[in-house]
Symmetry: C2
Subunit: 205 residues, 2 copies
């Protein structure tokens, strides 16, 4: 692409470095911004810059936060004795959006994946173990992806917790609501038969 | 979506106001930026802000420019007597990328579209007519979209130019290179038969 302006080119280059945004999309976005009010574009640019400089991570659960301790960890109406272990911040946002979980979180920052060079040391497992010893946690709910890596991570952490009084659970796996039985994969279907549940637990409350 | 941080939320809101970017994509982009070097994110944010404040439009052809007169209009090796009329800046970039046009441009800023409230007054037709009288232009090449609106715009400008000595042309329309004949629409196929061309003009030089 030949650009008539260096300023345009550097703005397009900036956008096209983002994941999933090619040069044509980047150009469309920059030309869109050029048509907006100068104050709106200033606000856009400042929101991005401030997010990078000012966002912190909660020192308890490693969730994104504006303060040292995140709004969830510092909320006295949330149960301190149940902790949901997730892979990343997007999972926290997804679970919070369901409004069905009233405990705290622990963000691992990934799952064990030797092929990608991610071992237990790269994850925030040590701080999870510390929290279990100091925060009076009674239940750990794993909400990790149903993959080999996710299962390996659960297995590893579970081994570290051997001998504690903790209740260790994982979110239910089975046929999704609205899912067609005939399109479900065999493993999911087989497991959902093995782990069949009483009908009264199935009805949404 | 429930956000654990207001800074995160305002950055996601900023991105999701861009065309074609939903809230989930915006979140993915912001989380990506949070993982980058602070200096890279600063450069990103500044490139956007500078593009909006410092980019100008060429006072001759209305193309995007870093200066009062764009690099194309001020280039002495480009022919001043042939002007390609396009709808927007993206079209200039597309034509420049072919490296097949050595004249100047005129960016209309749209095409006549009464249903969208765009009449001839909303477009930069007046300055095109002025240029024709002052710049010694001898040929106008229309490179507009092959739509009713594009054709209406060509027809309107052509009427304004009645009585001048100008050569008025339009880019060729027909079956695209690599296009399958059987999937071409009837109008394109019919027109490309009517406007059939000698084989020696067809061969790419």
């Amino acid at each position: 692409m030949q650009f008539p302006s260096e300023l345009l080119e550097s703005a397009v280059n900036a956008f096209s470095r983002l994941p999933g945004i090619g040069r044509k999309t980047a150009l469309r976005l920059v030309l869109h911004l050029l048509k907006q009010e100068a104050s709106d574009v200033k606000a856009f640019s400042e929101a991005i810059a401030r997010a990078r400089t000012d966002i912190r991570f909660c020192r308890h659960c490693h969730n994104i936060s504006d303060t040292d301790t995140c709004a969830i960890c510092s909320n006295p109406s949330r149960r301190p004795d149940i902790v949901c272990v997730v892979e990343n911040i997007r999972d926290v946002i997804a679970i919070e959006s369901t409004q069905q979980f009233n405990g705290r979180y622990h963000v691992l920052g990934g799952v064990i994946s030797p092929l990608d060079g991610i071992g237990p040391e790269q994850l925030r497992i040590e701080t999870l173990l510390q929290r279990i010893h100091t925060e009076g946690i009674e239940e750990i709910v794993f909400a990790l992806s149903p993959t080999i890596q996710g299962d390996t991570t659960i297995y590893y952490i579970q081994k570290q917790l051997a001998g504690t009084h903790l209740r260790i659970t994982t979110i239910a796996r089975g046929i999704a609501f609205g899912g067609e039985l005939e399109y479900a994969d065999e493993l999911t279907l087989a497991r959902s038969l093995q782990n069949r549940m009483p009908v009264d637990a199935y009805v949404m409350r």
